[in-house]
Symmetry: C2
């Protein structure tokens, strides 16, 4: 999707991909197959690139520092990216710059988890390995010290967090360039199912204007203080008492910003590319009153083609984004965007299409 | 641009390109370098493709018939495409189906041109070689039999046409699928400079609703009667006496439809891909009151980069589309789209950006 956004800008990508089957590897011209965990692979790949960016956070921080030492601009740089790679580092930094977070601390064993619970509101407690988690992986909600053994097995430090009593989840997406220009997308509502993003509504319905502004300012502050270059997604909890607390950070185009492909003047992908290349940023404002994104998950039927035809025929305004992935149950294989003036209608159209593609809606 | 539109649909292209420097060859994953005029190259390329389509009309008709005989779907097919390849065949067919055209006939030599002039309104007369012309090439406006020698030198049949006293040029863009579904984009005004498209305004300002409808119906009729599959652009003259006459046909995404990338719900490129694959077509309606496209021509400065930065900084809503081509004076190297409610403002922004990129505007 970043390549797609780069084409009209005249930007050419060179891609380092694990396998030829990866989504991007199917559509980018210049593809190198290799392991991003291997420094020599990265070094050979980086030669001749004007700048390096990522579509995930898993490239080892020390490898990124080595590339920088070789003179290759890395954006976002390792000093920023480490906050999206390591939840312990992220929490410490957000505390230091005064950004509100759920109560948290690194815990050493199940007894320490019980102590953490006793220091605050008691169980349940959320446990996260500080590295390697995504889409609900590496996250546990435990109701007792006895349930808390599992997270410690990987030998990675474990972060305990209070289970926030939230009204809903929001996301504030901003983009920042090397020379410090920044733009903020409207704050969106993000609905999760089983720890995976399901639906995003832009802008977040019935969001108090002052709270929306506070969320955008928080995201812009984080981008600046952490030295982020490119897209920053700040996942937030909206609490019952009217606060926003930071849940997670991502430093790349993010699922909560996919609506912008069809719903904003400039998409998150285009602005990420513009920021990474230090080009002036595009207008992030919405083009429609409401835009809704719903993820398409794989269902029980490997052949989505009949459903794909049906959805296009049923709704000629539907915007489909498929990733060229084999269908496996529960796997994100695409998303749909809809937009319009009537939120109920826009939501219904997106949900119907995503459900029909998955096979959970059959008419 | 067709590849870009195919990415979200999950469509993968294999590209036959003259050189690795061609715009599409820089961004498509699977590129074969070869000559489209060589049948064996075409045959080898076509193996394994679900369907073949084009971004120009120059593949020899007989080669397309050979591919069809091999069992490869060619869309648009040779029986349709010949009308965009040969202006003599096109005029004869449009006459046969009752579509209004400028007065015309095939002429044999300069004396015959004088006879053609005398049969109607006299000189000037427009002469066109029936094959091989585009962007003003292969077209002459002659004021006497003495001036009419040049077009006959190539040994290609020459078509004479009356020089229409038009108010302006319009274009009606439609897309038709193999099962006969068709959609019509709003009729646009197309302004030419030196025979090359310069500015397109969507929809055409102050166009009588009935005339607009007639133009759309004409284009839909032509698509149906000629068996077009995919995008059909019908270039039209709007005459002083309130008629529309067909000037040229193109059977592929067309410069007069580039506005649709940012101005329509579904772009011409996405609908061309959908038609060629017999997928249901997307909604062609505009997203904005006005959309303006201005072509970016190469100027005297080979390095457009400073101007590119300036234009993005000046207008964060500007949509730039660069083709990755080396800059040569007068060469189409990209286009810009702008949209909004105020036509004067939208026109000014697009013209400023295109002029600045070319180097003819310096502030």
């Amino acid at each position: 999707m970043t390549h797609e956004a780069g084409i009209p800008l005249g930007i050419r990508f060179k891609l380092l991909s694990d396998t030829p089957q990866d989504s991007a590897a199917q559509v980018v011209h210049d593809v190198v197959i290799g392991d991003y965990r291997d420094l020599e692979t990265l070094r050979a790949f980086a030669r001749g690139c004007d700048v390096i960016t990522f579509d995930h956070e898993h490239v080892p921080t020390e490898h990124l520092r080595a590339l920088e030492a070789d003179g290759i601009p890395v954006r976002p740089g390792p000093d920023a990216l480490v906050h999206a790679q390591d939840k312990g580092v992220m929490r410490a930094k957000l505390d230091a710059i005064g950004v509100p977070c759920p109560r948290h601390r690194i815990v050493s064993d199940p007894a320490d988890v019980a102590a953490f619970a006793a220091e605050g509101e008691g169980f349940p407690v959320v446990l996260k390995t500080v590295r390697g988690g995504y889409d609900g992986k590496g996250v546990w909600v435990v109701r007792s010290a006895e349930e808390a053994a599992e997270p410690f097995r990987a030998g990675v430090p474990v972060l305990a967090e209070e289970k926030v009593d939230f009204v809903r989840e929001l996301a504030a997406n901003v983009v920042r360039s090397p020379h410090g220009q920044a733009v903020a997308y409207p704050v969106v509502e993000s609905r999760q199912v089983d720890g995976v993003c399901d639906t995003v509504i832009a802008p977040a319905p019935d969001l108090d204007a002052e709270l929306a502004l506070r969320a955008e300012e928080l995201a812009l502050t984080i981008a600046k203080e952490l030295g982020v270059v490119g897209h920053l997604a700040v996942e937030l909890f909206q609490t019952r008492d009217g606060r926003v607390l930071v849940n997670e950070l991502a430093m790349r185009p993010h699922n909560s910003g996919h609506w912008s492909q069809d719903g904003a003047i400039t998409s998150q992908f285009a602005n990420h590319v513009r920021a990474v290349l230090d080009l002036p940023l595009g207008d992030p404002r919405p083009r429609a009153r409401w835009t809704v994104m719903v993820n398409v998950l794989g269902g029980d039927f490997p052949d989505m083609y009949p459903a794909y035809l049906h959805c296009m025929a049923r709704d000629p305004q539907l915007k489909i984004h498929m990733y060229g992935k084999d269908v496996k149950p529960g796997r994100k294989v695409g998303h749909v965007n809809t937009y319009g003036d009537d939120l109920d209608d826009v939501l219904e159209r997106a949900r119907h299409a995503a459900g029909y593609l998955r096979g959970t809606i059959t008419e």
